[in-house]
């Protein structure tokens, strides 16, 4: 027994997988006693990062099986959520009327870092306090 709580979920990078992973994250945070606003914000941000992995990471259908991983870690104080894929980050100028995903993540998270050395890893930290009990 370590005291920290962790959720690590590995799934195929398909659009049908995003909602179930998001629901699992929500239920995980609910079990930790997070308040409604935090539940919404954290799952919203994670949902955007997951959707990006599904939309942008992989060039071919079969490559999607390399998957996407959600990692949420709560040490009783700070919540960190990573979303990682094995694809390649697509640096490009934002299309008009798009590009809301990362903007939303930035609005919600206290800190976001995107590592693109080996696939893409979006590392988010969320401001506390978030627990209701």
């Amino acid at each position: 027994m370590s005291g920290a709580s962790e959720l690590r979920l590995h799934c195929a990078a398909r659009s049908s997988c995003v909602a179930p992973v998001r629901h699992a994250l929500r239920a995980f945070l609910e079990a930790l006693g997070f308040d409604a606003r935090s539940l919404d914000d954290v799952t919203t941000a994670a949902g955007e990062a997951l959707a990006n992995a599904v939309e942008h990471a992989y060039g071919t259908e079969s490559a999607r099986d390399a998957g996407v991983e959600l990692l949420a870690r709560f040490d009783g104080d700070r919540l960190a959520v990573d979303v990682a894929d094995r694809g390649s980050f697509k640096k490009r100028p934002p299309l008009p009327g798009r590009g809301f995903g990362l903007r939303i993540v930035r609005a919600v998270a206290r800190q976001i870092r995107i590592e693109t050395a080996d696939g893409t890893r979006v590392k988010m930290q969320f401001p506390g306090p978030y627990q209701k009990r």
Partner: protein, 110 residues
């Protein structure tokens, strides 16, 4: 068109997210003859940027064509999503379909 007031109704419910992108896009289209459109998303329980992108595309097109749009959003998650995306002023948002309809009727009559 669901009424005889010339106001088109578009209603989506549940979770508006990436797996429903196609359905969301298909729902957002102006029917011939519509003078305005009411986008009723009151019973959306969750929305992501996929939904926002489609909604924005629809509103921009409609406004270019001079067709007023009113969007009903009630869920807090969705309302905050719009704020986070910086779209609070991109379309008219109401909490009640009745208010949205009153606004559209005014637009159509004016």
């Amino acid at each position: 068109m669901n009424g005889d007031d010339g106001i088109q109704r578009i209603r989506l419910t549940g979770e508006l997210e990436i797996s429903r992108k196609r359905e969301i896009r298909d729902a957002f289209g102006i029917v011939p003859g519509a003078k305005a459109a009411l986008v009723d998303l009151a019973e959306v329980t969750y929305a992501d940027s996929t939904a926002l992108t489609e909604l924005l595309r629809f509103c921009v097109t409609a406004q270019r064509d001079g067709i007023p749009i009113a969007v009903v959003i009630r869920t807090q998650q969705f309302a905050r999503l719009v704020q986070y995306a910086g779209l609070a002023n991109a379309f008219r948002i109401f909490e009640e379909p009745g208010e949205a309809l009153a606004y559209l009727n005014e637009c159509v009559d004016a």
